[in-house]
């Protein structure tokens, strides 16, 4: 019994030799057949890597908002049937922010936010940029440090001092390579002293330059840029840990409803979103894209597999006499089956390995050319390899069985 098993194993070794010889005999055809799999596997690897890279990038940008952030937007208003969108109604007051700071225990940092755009100038240079009014906590909350200089303080906020920090782009546009700390920037003809320059963040996922910005105390912005008013566009709040996000969100909603006198059954005049919700929405988009790309790639892999089946079927027909000869000199049906399966699997596995390598190279090249990021996951490599071997077995089996079932007499006579 054991000797029989041993003999079978030796026979399998011979069959590998036979299959290798058969593949070598048709180098060009073997290479072209494998090409289908190479392209399929390569496409899967490249597409998934780029998709994962995009996802990671989006996730990194959302993490760049800071950690465990809750965003509270002012509600929209309807005037003469025209709805203004979030932040338009001015339902959030400075006192609301104060209340959150005071009454929601999970909240550690709060930043009142107002946003505007303005023409800023210094010397004979001027530039159109975004003006953000924030509290002194903003830099910690957003984990946005300064490359140079210092941020404004709570004292600056309280006194609505004419101070600001600028983004790298704004600084370069106005002052070129000059040192900007201590310089005076005129915003709506009000002179602001520049305290610091923010660390560059680059482009956002929407493509806006995050460094084209001026940030000042929200009090200064309201008083000197927006020209009065007491409402905030939104409030940024931070909690200590992800566990605190949901309870804090509930409490903020309850607090603001109470403060705004909203009766039971009426809609909120504000919106509270956690960073997780925003992240989920953003990654959902990239996940859809990744799935779409992977789907296209999988189709090309299947097409490659059908290519293998096609070639193997043609080759069974073309090699009918060869199969008859092999059977005449002692090949079992199983030997023929194994030989054709090994041929198909060798093509797909070798194609798979080359495909993995070319997929990695392709994703790196595309990432480099397009300035995207690519992320090669070991999972996708293993999956591609297993799938390509599976394709070989699946699409190789039918032709192999067809070959094994040939009658030696008919096969020998086949013209």
């Amino acid at each position: 019994m054991t000797s029989k098993v041993f003999a079978r194993r030796l026979r399998l070794a011979s069959t590998f030799k036979i299959a290798a010889r058969a593949l070598r005999r048709n180098k060009l055809r073997s290479a072209l057949t494998a090409l289908g799999i190479i392209i399929g596997v390569g496409a899967v690897i490249a597409m998934v890597s780029i998709g994962n890279g995009a996802k990671a990038q989006v996730e990194a940008q959302i993490a760049g908002l800071g950690e465990n952030i809750i965003l509270i937007f002012s509600g929209s208003t309807t005037a003469s049937g025209i709805r203004t969108g979030w932040g338009g109604a001015g339902t959030l007051k400075i006192e609301d922010a104060e209340a959150i700071r005071r009454e929601v225990p999970q909240v550690t940092l709060v930043s009142e936010e107002v946003v505007s755009t303005a023409q800023v100038a210094a010397g004979n240079q001027n530039w159109f940029t975004r003006i953000y009014g924030e509290s002194a906590d903003y830099f910690d909350l957003r984990q946005w440090s300064l490359a140079d200089g210092a941020p404004f303080t709570q004292q600056d906020v309280r006194s609505a001092n004419k101070v600001c920090v600028v983004g790298r782009t704004t600084a370069t546009q106005i002052y070129g390579s000059e040192d900007v700390i201590g310089q005076v920037l005129r915003i709506k003809n009000v002179p602001f002293q520049i305290l610091g320059v923010l660390t560059p963040k680059g482009l956002s996922s929407q493509g806006t330059d995050q460094d084209d910005i001026v940030i000042m105390p929200y009090t200064s912005a309201m008083k000197r840029v927006l020209g009065g008013g007491t409402t905030l566009r939104n409030i940024n709040a931070q909690v200590a840990s992800p566990r605190d996000l949901a309870p804090a969100q509930q409490q903020i909603i309850a607090l603001l409803r109470q403060r705004h006198n909203i009766r039971e059954g009426r809609d909120d005049d504000f919106t509270v979103r956690t960073q997780e919700e925003i992240a989920a929405a953003a990654t959902a988009t990239t996940e859809t894209m990744t799935a779409l790309l992977a789907g296209v790639a999988v189709i090309s892999l299947v097409v490659g597999g059908i290519g293998i089946m096609n070639i193997m079927l043609v080759s069974v027909t073309e090699r009918t006499r060869e199969i008859g000869t092999r059977m005449a000199v002692g090949a079992h049906g199983r030997d023929i089956l194994t030989q054709f399966l090994i041929e198909a699997m060798t093509l797909s596995v070798v194609g798979g390995i080359i495909g993995i390598i070319s997929g990695i190279v392709a994703s790196k090249v595309i990432a480099m050319l397009k300035n995207w990021s690519s992320l090669i996951s070991p999972g996708s490599i293993i999956l591609a390899f297993v799938v390509s071997a599976g394709v070989g077995i699946f699409f190789g089996f039918y032709p192999a069985r067809k070959a094994a079932q040939l009658d030696p007499i008919d096969a020998l006579r086949y013209e």
């Binding site: 070794a13 005999r25 000869t325």
Partner: protein, 256 residues
């Protein structure tokens, strides 16, 4: 010199019936024949006589519908497909009309083929040595690396004969071995058969050419699925002598 005492092939009332739809075709209708070790038999008959069917049964490519077939004393009439394949591998060597060599494959690898399916597994070096030996035995030393397309018809048939011999078969079976060869090459192949037979190898050859059959020692003629005639060849041709005669004829033609 020849030992006829134990039969290499013994057929006992062998029959083969094909069913094609409703119609039954009796291709072989009761053949009993004994072929001793060391014999050289030509199996003859017109097409439809049943000689090919009988050859397939003797070659263990097919099983008889009825009757018994002993190859080298072993009853092989009802073996399974795989067991028949093993019998072919161990005891039989095949030479075909159209050579059936693997294209784009060296003569050596073609000759090695049966060894790759044998129970005994040899190393690449052993395979090569054995293949070179049999190639030398058919007069093709030094041509081992040639592919079939680089060889003449006669040389290709020699490669096929070498392949048939590599497993030291009990019986060498040849199906119209000269069918695709010109007359001179045919005589050369018969010369190889005669010299192999002189060394004691049993040969059974299907042919429809009477002059080729007269290189054998015994002629079995079939008609309508039965053995019609079974005779020893009276004026046996000698391939060596025939070749000399042909060469002399060529010279004569050149002279004229």
């Amino acid at each position: 010199m020849n030992d006829f005492s134990s039969a290499a092939v013994r057929l006992d009332d062998v029959r083969k019936t094909y069913k094609t739809g409703e119609v039954e075709v009796q291709a072989v209708r009761g053949v009993s024949i004994e072929i001793g070790q060391g014999e050289f038999v030509a199996l003859m008959g017109s097409s439809g006589s049943g000689k090919s069917t009988l050859m397939n049964i003797i070659g263990c490519l097919d099983r008889p519908t009825a009757g018994r077939y002993f190859l080298d004393g072993e009853d092989v009439s009802s073996l399974s497909r795989d067991d028949l394949a093993d019998v072919r591998n161990r005891k039989l060597g095949f030479v075909f009309q159209n050579f059936n060599l693997l294209a784009r494959t060296s003569a050596l690898e073609n000759v090695e083929l049966p060894l790759l399916y044998s129970a005994e597994v040899l190393t690449n070096v052993q395979l090569r040595e054995k293949a070179e030996q049999v190639l030398a035995a058919v007069g093709l030393e030094g041509r081992g690396d040639h592919t079939p397309s680089q060889l003449s018809g006669g040389q290709q048939q020699r490669v096929a004969i070498a392949r048939a011999l590599i497993n030291d078969p009990e019986v060498l079976l040849a199906d119209e071995p000269t069918g695709n060869l010109d007359s001179r090459t045919s005589v050369e192949v018969m010369g190889i058969f005669q010299s192999l037979n002189d060394k004691g190898i049993t040969i059974i050859m299907v042919t429809h050419e009477a002059d080729i059959a007269s290189y054998a020692r015994r002629n079995v003629v079939m008609k309508d699925g039965l053995v019609r005639n079974d005779i020893l060849v009276q004026n046996r041709l000698n391939a060596v002598a025939e070749l000399e005669r042909i060469s002399a004829g060529d010279r004569l033609e050149v002279a004229v």
